[in-house]
Symmetry: C2
């Protein structure tokens, strides 16, 4: 096997070797689509290069042979220098998994001073020839020679000022020639040199693409999208065609279905007299393809036909790049199109209904983790105020937040818990981490396929792009939307579904799930084996969860009821009680509250299990913070009753509350609280039964680490059972590593285990979600952690503990029921894990029930 293959000779080679782009070019070539000829350096060549730091033996000979074949096929000479058009090529990366915007591209490669002349003569367009050269020198300078883009932009801007030109296209050939000279001096001032030899250009470009695999932006992207680091990228070298030869030329991007809504039919954008980079970079705003229907119906039909054929062949919605050179259509790339979660659902469902794919495949095509975003808030058009500005609806959903003007500020403010909206002239890959953390994204430039739009859709972050009325002043940290001025930090709202931007906070309404989602989840039902429950603390949450398909409540956090403003005085009274009478009164009040809460929850979930976790947090969480009281005391502002509170807060203070006096520890030391909670649940259950309803409560003991804790808590629970003559299933959280490791001796005592993977993760790794901000972002950047373990279950360690507990728990008690009630219960890959290790159910926050339902079906399909 060689290192390099022509597009036309790749029969039998796969995406892993050719990369996604190379594979698609090869397929299109073999199917007879109009693809400019070219060849692919394989990912294996990349890996060999990265390992050795040098090209592997034979690689360059193969490249030379392929370039010779290109010369033969096009009748042009690489670098020119003879008569006729010189052979120019594009050099693009193409990894096996699409990484838009992450890797580097160089166009017009092969141009030399001689070639420019030849190009100018052969096309009769010296301006075009010098512009092509200018682009090459600039891109090569940036990408291969590592010169800051800003320097080139400054020179370009100055050239425009000097020439009195408003746009790039207004620069003349001689303006451009002069500019190239300035570019060369800029490069030389940095101690580098732009090579005049086309082969040196090619070698530099290939090296740069190979090496760009490891640039920080690429690494970040891979981390966010969970792409392994050891794959490498292929390099595609393709004969150039030109969209910037005049008004009968142009470049565009097409989709076989609408990537925002999923609607079937050609969708896309076209920019006359331009090269592809102009579209992708969002520098000029293109026109919708739809306009071609009138202006150039023949071209439109041709593109629509290509779109349909590509989709039929690749069996998925396609996102393709094309160039029209003097009226002739060329395809430069095709790939499965990125899409909004909403579009993903609609496309999967409709393609299955069209018979293009099986229903099972439709299920597997939707990223289950994105489903909650379908329920994302929207701005009710009826009640919305007048928009301050309007742009392109690049990524659906509405957002409200503080405007921040760069990614770093976004990260820092969001890290302090503020909702932010990232406002930028346009986005670049450097902005990725800020985009990821923002509630919404707003840009002044760029179209529906600009970087901002593509990335925001992929991340499921609402975005409005190409807002012409938006102008930023980065020095003064301010911006304008039309007539109105804003400072960084001002609150704005945006609607990525309509493209509208609003000043201030606009009321959001909840999203609806839609018929396609409903259909998809219906198809999913028969496949899944895992049960899906919801974590819910209120009857409203419970009802919502039930609507979304939850088959029960896997976690009721009873302390959430305690925090209610009406109740917390009684919780405090209980903690501060000095006499039995005071304690009894507080307990009686809390009993009444809890009983009513349980009634509501059990009623909402009538006929379905409701797992009630007994009090979990340390008591000091119900009291004012120590620091606050100490400050008051030092300032002499302590209210009369607060001295006692301060004393109690000091007594209950903990250095590490996460590892403290809470859960079963607290319940065993203060059994009257345990007794009150169990009695309230039993009393609520009995009352509902008397009303002819079917309440199905289960009791759950938190934070155990020894079977003795369970036995001793059970002793109290059983007394209450006897008193009410009513028995309920009782289980334990498994959320300390110890509980997992001694699960075999806990299992005989209980009816079920519910894995509290939040705490289990924190204890297993020794991290605190509250504090990890000091290092976790860096850890994820540097891949010290492959994933954020608080989001996605850490299979190697936490998962291993789960497996031990499942195996040994079931061995000790074969009918033990097993579930997850940590946040991971609503994360798709973690649900797959839950399926693999044989749990009975997962429980997630209400919206994430959708994720769990689909992921459970996907897991079953993947295993079958």
């Amino acid at each position: 096997m060689g290192w390099v293959y022509a597009f036309s000779e790749t029969e039998g080679l796969g995406k892993e070797l050719l990369g996604g782009k190379g594979f698609a070019l090869a397929e299109m070539t073999r199917l007879g689509f109009p693809v400019p000829p070219g060849f692919t350096l394989t990912t294996e060549a990349c890996r060999a290069y990265l390992e050795r730091g040098a090209f592997p033996e034979g690689l360059w000979d193969e490249v030379r042979a392929q370039v010779e074949r290109l010369e033969a096929a096009t009748g042009k000479r690489f670098g020119g220098g003879g008569e006729g058009l010189p052979l120019l090529v594009s050099v693009r990366s193409g990894a096996p998994v699409s990484m838009p915007g992450m890797m580097d591209t160089i166009l017009n490669l092969g141009l030399t001073p001689d070639g420019v002349q030849a190009l100018a003569e052969a096309t009769g367009q010296p301006r075009f020839a010098w512009d092509s050269y200018r682009r090459l020198v600039q891109m090569y300078g940036e990408v291969v020679l590592g010169i800051e883009a800003e320097g080139f932009e400054r020179l370009l801007d100055r050239a425009k000022v000097l020439a009195g030109a408003e746009r790039d296209v207004d620069l003349s050939a001689s303006d451009l020639e002069r500019l190239v000279g300035e570019y060369r001096r800029l490069i030389e001032a940095a101690g580098r040199r732009f090579p005049d030899d086309p082969w040196q250009q090619l070698e530099g470009a290939v090296r740069a693409v190979f090496e760009s695999w490891n640039n920080p932006r690429a690494r970040t992207y891979r981390r966010l999208y969970e792409i392994p680091d050891d794959v490498g990228t292929a390099v595609n070298v393709q004969a150039m065609v030109f969209g910037n030869l005049g008004d009968d030329s142009g470049t565009g991007v097409g989709f076989s279905r609408n990537p925002a809504t999923g609607e079937k039919g050609l969708y896309g954008e076209y920019l006359k007299n331009a090269q592809g980079e102009d579209v992708v970079a969002g520098v000029r705003t293109p026109q919708p393809l739809e306009r071609l229907r009138e202006s150039d119906p023949g071209l439109y039909d041709e593109i629509a036909d290509v779109a349909a054929r590509l989709e039929a062949h690749f069996r998925d919605m396609q996102d393709f790049e094309f160039t029209v050179e003097r009226g002739r259509l060329y395809l430069l790339q095709t790939r499965a199109g990125k899409r909004t979660p909403e579009a993903a659902v609609r496309i999967a469902v409709e393609m299955a209904e069209e018979g293009a794919i099986a229903r099972e495949e439709a299920l597997l095509r939707v990223d289950a983790n994105t489903l909650p975003s379908l329920l994302r808030a929207r701005i009710d058009p009826e009640r919305a105020p007048e928009a301050a500005a309007e742009g392109l609806p690049a990524s659906p959903g509405a957002a409200v937040g503080h405007a921040v003007l760069d990614a770093e500020t976004a990260e820092s403010w969001a890290g302090r818990g503020l909702p932010v909206i990232l406002v930028r002239p346009e986005t670049t890959p450097e902005d990725i981490s800020g985009m990821y953390i923002a509630r919404g994204i707003l840009t002044a430039r760029g179209g529906m396929t600009s970087h901002a739009a593509v990335v925001a859709r992929g991340m499921g972050v609402p975005a409005v792009v190409g807002v012409a009325a938006l102008s930023l002043n980065l020095e003064e940290r301010s911006f304008r939307l039309g007539e109105r001025s804003f400072k960084e930090g001002d609150v704005i709202s945006l609607d990525g579904t309509t493209g509208k931007v609003f000043a201030g906070e606009v009321a959001l309404s909840e999203g609806g799930s839609g018929e396609y989602l409903h259909r998809l989840l219906e198809w999913a039902e028969p496949h899944r084996r895992l049960g899906v429950r919801a974590n819910a603390d209120t009857p409203a949450d419970a009802r919502r969860a039930r609507e979304l398909g939850a088959e029960g409540i896997g976690l009721v956090r009873t302390e959430h009821m305690f925090f209610d403003p009406e109740r917390i005085p009684w919780v405090r009274a209980l903690i501060l009680a000095e006499t039995e009478k005071e304690e009894r009164e507080a307990l009686e009040r809390l009993f009444a509250f809890q009983r009513a809460d349980f009634m509501g929850l059990l009623e909402a979930m009538d006929g379905l299990p409701v797992t009630v976790r007994l009090l979990d947090p340390p008591l000091h969480e119900f009291l004012p913070p120590l620091v606050e009281l100490e400050r008051k005391e030092a300032a002499g502002e302590l209210a009369p009753g607060e001295a006692k509170v301060l004393a109690q807060v000091r007594q209950l203070h903990e250095v590490n509350p996460m590892l403290g006096f809470r859960g079963v520890r607290l319940l065993l030391v203060r059994p009257e609280i345990l007794r009150m909670q169990v009695a309230a649940l039993l009393s609520a259950t009995r009352a509902l039964r008397e009303q002819g309803r079917d309440p199905r409560p289960e009791l759950m003991i938190p934070l155990v680490s020894t079977p003795e804790e369970v036995e001793q808590a059970l002793a109290v629970v059983r007394e209450a059972f006897a008193e009410f003559d009513l028995e309920l299933p009782v289980g334990t959280m498994i959320e300390t590593p110890r509980a997992a490791l001694v699960a075999g001796s806990i299992a005989p005592l209980v009816d079920f285990f519910s894995f509290g993977t939040n705490d289990l993760t924190q204890l297993t790794i020794g991290i605190s979600r509250d504090d990890a901000g000091h290092f976790l972002p860096r850890y994820l950047d540097a891949r010290t952690f492959a994933h954020d373990p608080t989001e996605r279950l850490d299979e190697a360690a936490v998962g291993r503990l789960l497996e031990i507990a499942v195996r040994e728990g079931r061995a000790a008690r074969p009918d033990l029921k097993l579930g997850i009630c940590g946040e991971h219960g609503g994360e798709a890959r973690s649900v797959h894990f839950a399926h693999r290790v044989g749990l009975d159910y997962v429980s997630a926050s209400p919206f994430r029930v959708l994720t769990a339902r689909l992921a459970a079906a996907q897991a079953a399909l993947a295993a079958s």
Copy 2:
């Protein structure tokens, strides 16, 4: 098999069934020692009773038959009622493991109103007869009927006042008869009845002994001494002999060697005209046995002969109780004597040298956990001030602390970190938990074998007992030592080796190890396979550890150097640095400090490994506490420079610092600190090598949980190695559960693992040593935790993680070195575990090196 056996018919039955006391009585009976006849109800009978809540079938028939045999053997009738002496019995518990003072005893059982008359007539001592009855009614009332002792004591005191009697023995027969009547009325007032039927008495007493197995004191004792709960106790019923028939009678306790020093030869105490309870309870202070040498040389020789024969038979130092009834010696009990750690060592060594036991057995006889107490502080007699009072040197070692007058106060003050000395009139089993936590114990009454003395020696707590000059006023919370008055909370000092008590704080000097210990540890050396290192942070500690036999340092906590007052300003400067220059200056200063520290440590341990742990704690530990600064700010007292410190402290503040930004996390985010520490160690090493020394440093990375952390830290470490052209072994702490669970992928990267069992324990169980005080004492009382896992390695969970890491670490890297550097490395049972799982070494605080050395040998012997 039956439930009951006569002492003379127990051939082939063991201690498990007969209990320690029953077994010893049976042995002595069969060997022809003068033992009053009797029989034993087995532990199996106890277990059966406790399970059913009733006597098992056949038990009582067997008891009746045995009592009949006793009647036949003694020629007396149980309960009397005919002519001659009535048969009286003692009823005593006797578990398989000695539990002194924990279980209940009843003497003179079988006495009835008729019997008293008969006894008075037959002995001619009506006073004795009524006193025996009085004791029975009182003991039975307390133990079986559950009447508070205080009521009886009050009546007794009143009787003495009325009779003008100073001591109990001054009461006449008729005083005592009247007193018995009052006792009966006291019992009836509580709704109970003292039975006149001897069989009912016996049944009640047996039940009470069985049930006393589960009384809280017994449970506490078992927890402290790690005795399982499911063993049960035997009951011994034995014909009474009387030490209180006059001056030719008496009772005493003998030891075959001195239990405080280990010196060979008869040792003990004797109290004329008394029953055994008078000695044990410490109510009257007995005379040294030595005095009998002159006053009754025949008796002395007889007792000495018994002591020697008992020791020869049982092959251990014996503690035996005897009674002399009208000149005739009876043995009531023998057992291996409790002894001070010092005596344990001397006795084991000398018995081996005498050929009585093998050296291996000598090694196994010493509780390795007690060895550090041999190095316990003493009061230098040369420099001591005049003693405020003097008593019996009941348990060696010196102590300084705040005097507290009851066990509860002792627990509460000690819980707040105050050193306390428990001062009591005498101690009872209710005081156990207070005694355990005290630095020293001081009592007004009692001899060398009183409860206070026995328990203090067992626990290794220094104690002075029987201080006649001590009087307490519990109401006013004060006490007097001779002429001087003290309030509770005043500081006093005591020397349990000399029996002296001092006002205020007396300077303590360090203990010396002694020749016997030295010999024992020499014998241990060839047996142990585990290496023993010390945790030490200073050259002084290192030298001390080396003297004590440490073969290296397993843990240098570099942050302990940072806390030095001279250095902490530079640590703060580093944290607060705003410019690179400030940071560089701070790092340079710290480099110089660390280099000097490392020089000292490596010099002290020349030729031996020194494992240096890189910076572990979070940075905020080096800054003033948040609460303190916030208080200052609120009070408007913030110094000019402190606003900046407060801002930084707020920024670094963590909710759960244990799970926070520390260890490798900090080192990766602030690699300049890592670099500085490694450079300091390398520089120190090079300098010492140039001096011709043999420094053997090892580097250790703390708090890792992924192999990536290790790789990334190693990248920085290797740069420093290259810079110094010097490579050191590098290892990781394994102290998060995750690190243990992925040990197989960490092992290939490092030379060694050191298990940080302190953190590993806290994370595995989800407890914080700083906060566990809220529930841990109750957890240990209720056996929710079988042991304190921060003291003794929790084998079920933490141990299991260790086993996983050992197995998978070694599989990935067979030459991986493995050790423990948590506190458990100096705890005997944990050292056994370390041996069993195949670690290479344990590392403990310097004094605990002794424990580790002996325990390692014991573990090897136990395994062979």
